[in-house]
């Protein structure tokens, strides 16, 4: 094991048992990501190049796709809906974030909470609420002046609602990172507030704005819940994939549409990466954070704007609640729990809710463990660069893969007759694996960020004290990173509760999920029960968040005592 130096050859360091442990860990994670991500994606790719019998046909499926206007028209539709939703969503989120970070308007804490609400609902819930608001019997349908909510209008409003917090988080971060000295300099040089706004504020937040634009666009274009519920005859790429696969069992064409859907996601992923890498240098350790001053006019104007946006969020959610609990909308609005009688409807009944809880729980537990250990291995292994970079790349890949496309890849890979893993098809395990893979990237980045904040010499000191890496991981790294670990677990749980896109292809009658049940009930015309299920998911996600925060607060107090002087 010991490498003795001899003349002319490059000296290599011997490996300790720790090095072997870490490297073996990297290989295990690499194998895991290959099976749950890379192989399904390549199965999708090869499926798109095959005909029904499995023979290679090259680009023939693509040619047929573009020759069929009913299919290829969806590209334009998706682009249109995506662009308009993005423009509206990012503008609103910017105003909202500006109010939260740059003014002293009253109620900022409440607004912050309100803005995050859509994260806790499945995307189809706002669409269902919109049906109640603006549908044929909706209480506000007059506002549409004769236009139908079923179609682009509904998709756009619903998409703006559920993507709003995603843009908001990015923009709040971008606007928080500002250097007060730039404002002082601008003021000292006699620039007007308007000019300062453009040259300092917008210019400083430009990477955040760009990032938000791409994130929202990708989310809208690849989302399936909203157009499925409210899209009517207006076809978009995401619903096409579903129709081809579930409706017509045309897997090859489904794969082709999936690959088309992959394009905008990959593009925005690449742009986002470039933007992220440039953003780093903006704020130095010596910057002075900007502290807003009271300005009655600005505070009132932005307070008013935020109030309107907040009201819109509340009214959409409130409508969903109302629909869930009203006996028979719009004729009998008395309180009733009859829509929660899921066992007498299509979709899987209460069992699907229990399944969702189990699935989300398992995803949170196993996902957090796998992702955190994976991030640790990437960050702390010495040498073995190829392995570490491969894991890091695969960990970021899911960000560029829409859930629908991933789910499709899972069908093709795990349902293939020759696959030894075929037995997990139709079980809870495949749902958990797929959901972990689907939400891997953000969780991985959260863990990596937390690990980067730890002193890199912890491991060195441990080695010099001849303490095995396992012990330092458990005794120091995990306890110190507990806040980030908790964030990752909550993130995975909430997303596993609300997701529809990837799992819609993978559930079996025995493993139906709440969000899928809501979709199917809506499909069958049971709109009120669908709303009820959506509301139930929201309440669960919110409740789990609260309970988890309270429970872990005790744990955090015990393990983070050192943080308090």
């Amino acid at each position: 094991m010991r490498a003795l130096p001899d003349a002319g050859t490059r000296l290599r360091q011997g490996l300790s048992s720790d090095d072997w442990t870490l490297r073996a860990g990297i290989l295990v994670i690499l194998a895991y990501l290959t099976v749950t991500l890379l192989l399904p994606m390549s199965a999708l790719l090869s499926k798109a190049l095959e005909d029904r019998s499995g023979a290679f046909v090259g680009l023939q499926n693509f040619a047929r796709y573009f020759a069929t206007p009913s299919l290829s028209n969806s590209i334009g539709n998706s682009l249109f809906v995506g662009l308009v939703s993005t423009a509206i969503c990012v503008s609103l989120a910017f105003v909202y974030a500006y109010g939260l970070t740059r003014t002293l308007m009253p109620g900022r804490a409440v607004f912050r909470l309100l803005g995050a609400i859509p994260l806790l609902v499945p995307s189809l819930l706002p669409a269902i609420a919109l049906v109640y608001m603006f549908g044929n019997q909706g209480y506000a349908s007059g506002l549409l002046m004769g236009e139908s909510i079923y179609g682009p209008i509904g998709i756009i409003i619903g998409s703006v609602f559920w993507t709003f917090p995603h843009a908001l988080i990015i923009l709040i971060t971008a606007l928080s990172l500002s250097d007060a000295r730039l404002y002082e300099a601008s003021e000292a040089l006699g620039a007007s507030p308007w000019r300062t706004f453009w040259t300092v504020t917008i210019s400083g937040a430009r990477y955040g704005i760009l990032s938000a634009i791409f994130v929202v666009f990708t989310l809208v274009v690849t989302d399936f819940g909203v157009p499925k519920v409210i899209g009517g005859q207006f076809n978009v790429l995401a619903t096409d994939v579903y129709k081809q696969v579930v409706g017509q069992q045309n897997f090859e064409m489904g794969a082709v549409v999936g690959l088309v859907l992959l394009l905008p996601a990959v593009l925005s992923f690449l742009v986002d990466r470039i933007v992220q890498s440039r953003q780093g240098v903006q704020l130095t350790g010596r910057s002075i954070p900007y502290a807003p001053k009271a300005n009655r006019k600005v505070d009132l104007a932005l307070g008013g704007a935020c109030l309107l946006i907040g009201l819109a969020i509340v009214s959409v959610l409130g409508t969903a609640f109302f629909a869930a609990f009203a006996k028979l909308w719009p004729y009998d609005l008395s309180f009733s729990l009859r829509h929660f009688d899921f066992d007498n409807m299509d979709g899987g009944g209460w069992a699907s809710y229990v399944n969702s809880l189990r699935m989300a729980g398992l995803t949170a537990v196993f996902g957090t463990a796998i992702i955190f250990i994976g991030a640790y291995l990437v960050e702390k292994t010495r040498g073995f660069r190829a392995g570490r970079e491969a894991v890091h790349f695969l960990a970021l890949l899911p960000m560029a893969v829409p859930g629908l496309v991933l789910g499709l890849g899972y069908i093709f890979f795990f349902n293939a007759p020759g696959n030894p893993l075929n037995f997990i098809y139709g079980t809870m395990a495949i749902l958990v694996l797929c959901t972990i893979a689907h939400f891997y990237s953000v969780a991985h980045l959260t863990a990596v960020t937390a690990l980067k904040q730890l002193d890199p010499e912890f491991e060195t000191v441990s080695q010099s004290l001849r303490v095995p890496v396992r012990r330092t991981f458990l005794a120091v790294t995990v306890p110190v990173s507990l806040p980030a670990i908790r964030d990752v677990a909550i993130y995975l749980f909430v997303n596993a509760m609300t997701t529809v896109s990837a799992v819609v292809f993978l559930y079996s009658p025995a493993t139906s999920l709440a969000s899928v049940a809501a979709l199917n009930m809506d499909d069958a015309g049971d709109i009120a029960p669908a709303a009820a299920m959506g509301v139930l998911i929201f309440c669960t996600a919110a409740l789990v968040r609260v309970i988890y925060t309270v429970l872990t607060a005790g744990l955090l107090r015990a393990t983070q005592r050192w943080r308090h002087r």
Binding site: L4, P5, L11, Q13, S16, D19, S462, R466, V467
Partner: protein, 372 residues
């Protein structure tokens, strides 16, 4: 503070032997064929500006970085290719790298709990170490609750827990404020002397190195420029770089004449015999003189290098004056440091004339353009 040593320690068995250490990062060479021998119980300082390779050399010794070529032998054992955990050293980093979620006790005992020691033995050893660094009353606190100096001492105690044969200190004092730094450097030095522990400290602070080290290793651009006691390094710098980096120095270009004479800006000076000088009469040389070596009192009529000067400017530094002295009849300007007493006794003022002498044995002469 301990006195400067005037000679190297008596030669004992080499404890650490570095031979031909070279470290390359791509096309950049961080260390170039470094040879160094360190004896048991020595306190060695690696001194140099940032990027000179001192930290890289420490990382090679610890195994944190692996050298591209060369061997490291510690206590008779070839450790050149060993992983960190197979080597025998304790280390203190600039950041201390204390585990924030563990108490002072748990930090110090961190390496002990992994050996099969009894709980009672561990507690006893931790107590011993905390007494050693004077922190027994802080044992139940967490590192963030301690001052910088206390954290530093916890890190030191932790590094000493396994009784390593070698202690490595990577800029251990640079994160502290000036007062604490002064106190701690005495403490560290005393501790090292009491334990007789071979110690290597990396620093960019020449004062720290002069005050603490048995021998200083001055590094420059990946090479060792000089190894010597603090006094040797200060008074007989081996290269212009060392002369410039350690202490303040007048640098003047001149030409070597016959009979140990050198001419600078038309002023002829006598210098003491120097076996290391690699220049022939007629060649361009660099002449070095420390500002405090300029003599102003008790100059006899026959003193060599006796010069009449005019005081061009005076700067009060706090414990001495810094003067610019123009040699009469020449363009030559020298910088001199004079005590407050001397300034007062001789009524020195700007514009006044003054007689100075430059002791020949204080003049250092280097061949132009050579490193050595």
């Amino acid at each position: 503070m301990h006195a400067l040593k005037t000679s190297a320690r008596p030669v004992s068995q080499p404890y650490l032997q570095l031979t031909n250490i070279t470290k390359r990062y791509g096309s950049f060479t961080a260390l170039q064929s470094v040879d160094l021998t360190i004896h048991e119980g020595e306190f060695i300082c690696f001194l140099g500006p940032s990027g000179c390779g001192k930290t890289t050399l420490l990382r090679v010794i610890s195994g944190l970085d692996i050298q591209s070529e060369g061997t490291v032998i510690q206590a008779g054992r070839d450790i050149s290719g060993l992983p960190v955990s197979h080597r025998d050293f304790g280390i203190v980093f600039q950041s201390y790298a204390l585990f924030p979620n563990l108490t002072v006790e748990a930090n110090v005992g961190y390496g002990l709990t992994s050996r099969r020691m009894k709980r009672r033995e561990i507690a006893a050893r931790v107590g011993e170490l905390l007494t050693l660094v004077g922190l027994t009353d802080q044992r139940r606190k967490y590192p963030p609750q301690l001052s910088g100096g206390q954290q530093q001492r916890v890190a030191l105690a932790r590094a000493l827990a396994l009784s390593p044969g070698l202690l490595l200190l990577d800029e251990p004092l640079s994160a502290l404020d000036a007062r604490v730094r002064l106190r701690l450097r005495t403490e560290i030095r005393d501790l090292q002397q009491r334990l007789g522990l071979t110690t290597i400290m990396v620093t960019h602070d020449q004062e720290e190195a002069l005050a603490m080290a048995d021998r200083i290793v001055v590094m420059n651009a990946g090479r060792i420029d000089q190894v010597g006691t603090p006094l040797e390094v200060y008074s007989r710098p081996a290269t212009p770089f060392v002369a410039d980096f350690v202490g303040k120095m007048n640098f003047k270009r001149g030409r070597l004449g016959p009979d140990r004479r050198v001419t600078v800006d038309g002023v002829e000076l006598v210098y003491a015999p120097d076996p290391d000088l690699r220049a022939q009469p007629g060649e361009e040389v660099v002449l070095c003189l420390r500002p405090e070596d300029i003599v102003v009192r008790g100059i006899s009529e026959t003193a060599p290098n006796r010069l009449a000067v005019r005081v061009l400017s005076m700067e009060f530094i706090g414990n001495h004056f810094h003067l610019r002295l123009g040699i009469l009849g020449s363009e030559l300007v020298l910088e001199g440091d004079l005590s407050i007493n001397a300034v007062r006794d001789l009524s020195i003022e700007v514009g006044r004339g003054l007689t100075i002498a430059l002791p020949p044995d204080r003049l250092r002469i280097f061949a132009q353009g050579t490193g050595r």
